[in-house]
């Protein structure tokens, strides 16, 4: 048998990894790979309209299915366009393998046409990256790349393949000499003494709180089940980061809601007052902790994380446990045995007092537009009308994202796709495309803002091409709302460049791409509009015109402690000192 080319070897390797979809865009330096894709029915290529869309679609697919997303882009601008999505996947720990074309090996370093130092550019926003110099290395490298992307703390891996390596046959039969098991072996199981110590701390806690994060989702659906089981044994009140929503059911009586900057009053005060905090697969992000020296001052802290570098990074903890969330939860459940735990009645009564503040109760009417739909109301209705179909929700970034996190309920993992760490506007629609491909029968909705959606608006064409019935629900307040909100809080309402001028007619835009467009302007039409959106068997944009002045509360202003939350009705306009202004 004739020897296979690098491109053919790559295809075989991808098939061996059970890759269903490749999200990509062709170009000069990947033509040999695209020729291999031609007519090969084993892998379906999804042609996006911009490489950023390919990376976010792969992220959405990965987040919704738990399988790695695969991206294929050309050299130079193809690769640099994908970098935002790669950096996004790196911060949110999304498993992704990105194959980039490169100029032929002989031209590397000569400033050749469409040459960029992809390995250099992506070095610090990937979990690992490779430049392949011989087709002989391809098979072992692809195998290792998938292993690295999907195990341990997941993340993006880039494989840069020069065009001549795609065409050539292996120079000799050799495996990657570094591909041995020795060099990458994440610690999954925690030492028994640490488990025993943790269980003792939790069992003796008077005021425990579980603070869970995206690591529980990444660990697989079993981790969510085990979290619920362990919570059931301990009855600890439970909160979650933005990335962890869905791991614990929002309908559970011990659910505190999301914590952090736009988290609930009860979640943040429970964190502040707890005596034992159990952080499971979260990373004490600045959105969560607020002012560090005032963060949960009296608690003993247990931190379970598969990444050792997350432990003690910003918040010193009393017990750091390196391990996989599901495995460690299983160990803790076994170690808990038939303990009774403390009576948490008093603690829960205090929490009930905080709950009674009803921190998510927003004003019925906007001051500036009393007739307008309140955006919070729109999300609430969207949730109530769609929840029976267990929808997958993606978001863009901004106020709408926080409102979606606050007012949409999640009771299962892998249903919530959002750019948490990098905060990438333009994430939501391509992510919805990826999620819909992974779950063809699911109701997939991108909750968007009118500003964010324009950042990857070209992907309307991708959804049309592949007949993907995704829904884009735009909360249109004609502002980059979160920017405007910060300008009110910090810069005395000087709205520097935060007004969304020259907006397109979103209904006409939808129709131009063969989508259905629906505009909702009156609250009386809200339910009917949402139902029409759901009933349409195809992609829909809903342009939901909402109150222009609505702000997102509760809010812990930058530089403030959990106890210094702003609630609806608080006077918020003004300025801040420079220390607070310097924080993001």
């Amino acid at each position: 048998m004739a020897q296979q080319s690098g491109a053919a070897l790559l295809m075989e390797s991808l098939v061996r990894q059970e890759v269903e979809f490749v999200f990509g865009y062709p170009g000069g330096a990947v033509l040999p790979i695209y020729d291999e894709l031609f007519g090969d029915e084993r892998i379906r290529h999804i042609l996006v309209r911009h490489e950023a869309g390919a990376a976010h679609a792969a992220e959405g697919y990965a987040r919704a299915t738990g399988k790695p997303g695969v991206v294929l882009v050309t050299s130079g601008p193809g690769a640099t366009n994908a970098v935002t999505g790669i950096a996004d996947a790196f911060l949110d720990s999304i498993p992704m393998v990105v194959i980039t074309g490169q100029v032929p090996t002989g031209l590397i370093g000569t400033d050749a046409f469409q040459e960029a130092d992809t390995v250099g550019i992506t070095r610090h926003c990937t979990k690992h990256n490779y430049l392949i110099k011989d087709p002989a290395d391809l098979v072992a490298t692809v195998e290792e790349a998938f292993r690295i992307a999907t195990t341990g703390r997941p993340g993006p891996v880039v494989i840069d393949i020069p065009k001549d390596v795609q065409i050539a046959v292996p120079s000799k039969s050799r495996a990657n000499p570094n591909a041995g098991a020795h060099r990458y072996a994440p610690q999954m199981v925690a030492p028994a003494d640490q488990i025993a110590e943790a269980v003792d701390m939790i069992a003796n806690a008077q005021k425990p709180v579980f603070y869970t994060g995206g690591g529980v989702i990444n660990s697989g659906p079993r981790a969510s089940q085990l979290l619920r089981q362990f919570q059931d044994l301990t009855s600890a009140p439970t909160t979650s980061t933005l990335m962890g929503l869905g791991a614990f059911p929002n309908t559970h009586p011990d659910w505190l809601g999301m914590l952090g900057m736009h988290g609930t009053y009860e979640a943040n005060l429970a964190m502040n007052q707890a005596d034992v905090m159990v952080c499971i697969g979260a990373r004490f992000d600045d959105r969560v902790t607020g002012r560090l020296d005032a963060f949960s001052p009296d608690s003993k802290k247990i931190h379970i994380d598969i990444d050792r570098s997350s432990i003690n990074k910003t918040v010193p903890v009393d017990l750091g446990i390196v391990g996989d969330c599901a495995t460690v939860l299983e160990q803790m459940i076994a170690a808990w045995g038939d303990r009774a735990g403390q009576d948490l009645g008093e603690w829960k009564a205090r929490i009930a007092g905080w709950r009674a503040r009803e921190c998510l109760a927003y004003p019925e009417r906007s001051k500036a537009n009393p007739q307008a739909i309140m955006p919070q109301k729109a999300i609430e209705r969207l949730y109530h009308l769609t929840k029976d179909r267990s929808p997958i929700i993606s978001t863009e970034v901004g106020q709408h994202q926080m409102w979606a996190a606050q007012y949409f309920g999640f009771d299962a993992p892998n249903k919530w796709l959002t750019s948490g760490g990098l905060g990438t506007m333009g994430y939501g629609m391509p992510a919805a495309i990826g999620a819909q491909l992974g779950h063809p029968d699911a109701l997939v909705i991108d909750i968007a803002g009118e500003a964010s959606i324009q950042m990857n608006i070209q992907e309307l064409g991708t959804a049309s091409q592949y007949r993907l019935p995704i829904k884009v629900f735009i909360l249109n307040n004609e502002y980059m709302g979160m920017v405007r909100q910060w300008q009110e809080l910090t810069y005395e309402s000087r709205y520097s460049n935060s007004y969304s001028d020259s907006l397109p007619d979103f209904v006409a835009l939808a129709e131009a791409y063969g989508w259905k467009g629906i505009r909702i302007e009156d609250e009386g039409d809200l339910d009917a509009g949402i139902l029409r959106m759901m009933e349409h068997d195809g992609p829909v944009i809903v342009d939901c015109c909402v109150a222009k002045d609505a702000n997102c509360f509760p809010m812990i202003p930058s530089g403030a402690a959990h106890t210094e939350m702003l609630l609806y009705g608080d006077q918020v306009e003004g300025t801040m000192d420079d220390e607070a202004k310097a924080l993001v």
């Binding site: 390995v119 250099g120 610090h124 979990k127 430049l131 000499p177 570094n178 050792r308 570098s309 432990i311």
Partner: protein, 171 residues
């Protein structure tokens, strides 16, 4: 508003890595990207098949940052092992320096006399210059250079620190 800074301490890290393209850029880039300091860095391959390199990094930072540096280094796929020699206990630190001194008469004689005291070797000489080779701790090298400054110092090349644990085990 002022930029804040914290108390730092010096640590010597020994890092064994796969000897593959880009690994040095990964490590130095990690230090730049996360705002860590490098006082010195040495690297050379140490295995017969050239597959493994050993890097010695001298860094400084607050204790929490030093801990992060180790954890972040361990996160890199080609990194096998990170040993904080400063934290691990008694260890040897050595540095090699080449020091060129030019002069005649008393200064030249004095330079040679000091070099003998420091057990520096003369590796090159002309009638008006020496190149000394000196091995020792960074402090020893520093003090030798200080003395040579008065005796016609022309140029200095230093290898940076290489470190190893004392005793039979460890890194």
């Amino acid at each position: 508003m002022k930029i804040q800074s914290a108390e730092t301490e010096r640590h010597v890290l020994a890092v064994t890595v796969d000897n593959e393209p880009g690994i040095l850029a990964k490590i130095t880039g990690l230090f730049t990207a996360r705002g860590y300091n490098i006082d010195s860095l040495t690297v050379a391959d140490i295995s017969t098949d050239h597959a493994i390199s050993r890097i010695t990094i001298v860094t400084n930072g607050p204790p929490q940052v030093i801990d992060q540096i180790e954890a972040q280094l361990e996160r890199l796929v080609p990194v096998h092992k990170v040993t904080d020699l400063t934290a691990a206990g008694p260890h040897v630190e050595r540095e090699l320096a080449l020091i060129k001194v030019a002069g005649t008469g008393d200064k030249r004689v004095e330079a040679l006399r000091v070099a003998e005291i420091y057990r520096a070797n003369v590796v090159d000489t002309t009638t008006s210059s020496f190149v000394f080779e000196l091995t020792g701790t960074p402090e020893k090298v520093n003090s030798f250079i200080t003395l040579m400054r008065e005796l016609g110092l022309v140029s200095v090349g230093r290898s940076g620190v290489v470190g190893m644990m004392r005793g039979s085990g460890g890194a």
